[in-house]
């Protein structure tokens, strides 16, 4: 894989930034993501959809992993690859075990579940918008959520 270098601008293939784990950070994270999407050449609709997915993921980190604002940080890293943008969100909160949840697939999860609590739509948005979604937890690096968006439609075997 080769990276094109224009005459004056070296394309940054990777960028990382840490944000305080508070709702205020969401618009700043969106800006960061918007830049990465621009570098990936995404159109404004795709860019907005990726912003939405990341916003949902970060809201979940603040709300569920940390259980509140200003408990910990969110580290956001973007890798620009030839055919995709990879976004990695890291936190040090409570590990998320997606196996414990009904991961929404194609149907909109609008039904109530478990004693009147309403199923959230956040995970549904994330899975629906991004081409690949994976959660991982390790003692050293905390929780890692990897989100992938392809530059064109995902390859059939992916």
């Amino acid at each position: 894989m080769q990276w094109g270098i224009s005459k004056t601008i070296v394309v940054e293939v990777s960028a990382s930034q840490r944000f305080p784990g508070r709702y205020e950070s969401l618009t700043k994270i969106a800006e960061f993501i918007r830049c990465a999407c621009a570098q990936a050449g995404f159109d404004s609709c795709t860019t907005y959809s990726v912003e939405t997915a990341v916003d949902e993921a970060c809201s979940n980190i603040i709300e569920h992993a940390y259980g509140g604002e200003d408990i910990g940080e969110i580290c956001c890293t973007c890798h620009l690859e030839e055919d995709r943008l990879v976004i990695i969100l890291q936190d040090n909160g409570k590990p998320f075990k997606p196996e414990k949840f009904r991961i929404p697939k194609d149907t909109i999860p609008l039904k109530k579940y478990k004693r009147k609590k309403k199923q959230g739509l956040g995970l549904y948005f994330i899975y629906k918008i991004m081409d690949e979604v994976s959660f991982a937890t390790s003692p050293s690096e905390g929780n890692t959520l990897t989100l992938v968006k392809y530059k064109s439609s995902p390859p059939p075997q992916a």
């Binding site: 969106a30 609709c45 909109i108 629906k128 918008i129």
Partner: protein, 111 residues
């Protein structure tokens, strides 16, 4: 988020400016509930100046839609949705749940 409202003979227009997310969704829910509590179920959400709708915001709209459509008494419709928001709503399959109008005039004229 900023909310302005206008009541017409047969419908209500509610215009939102800014982000509809977990932080602001309760305020929008309150405004919508005030309308339905008054027995008015034909509502237009003018999204012209909406910059972002999160799943929490959409949840409010879905709940309002359910409430409005009950007994066939009304409907929540969306007007002037910015293209990027509309395309994302399409992607997540939510545009089926709401009639969408390009302009508020057609939306008011629909009821």
């Amino acid at each position: 988020m900023n909310i302005t409202q206008k009541q017409f003979k047969r419908c209500d227009l509610i215009s939102v400016e800014g982000r509809i997310d977990s932080a602001t969704a309760p305020q929008l829910a309150e405004a919508l509930e005030a309308i339905t509590a008054a027995g008015r179920y034909k509502i237009i959400l003018d999204c012209c100046n909406v910059s972002f709708i999160s799943s929490a915001g959409l949840r409010v709209l879905v709940n309002t839609q359910k409430n409005c459509k009950r007994y066939n008494r009304g409907e929540l419709v969306l007007a002037q949705i910015p293209e990027n928001i509309r395309s994302t709503l399409d992607l997540v399959g939510f545009t089926e749940l709401f009639k969408i109008f390009n302009d508020t005039l057609s939306a008011v004229g629909y009821f």
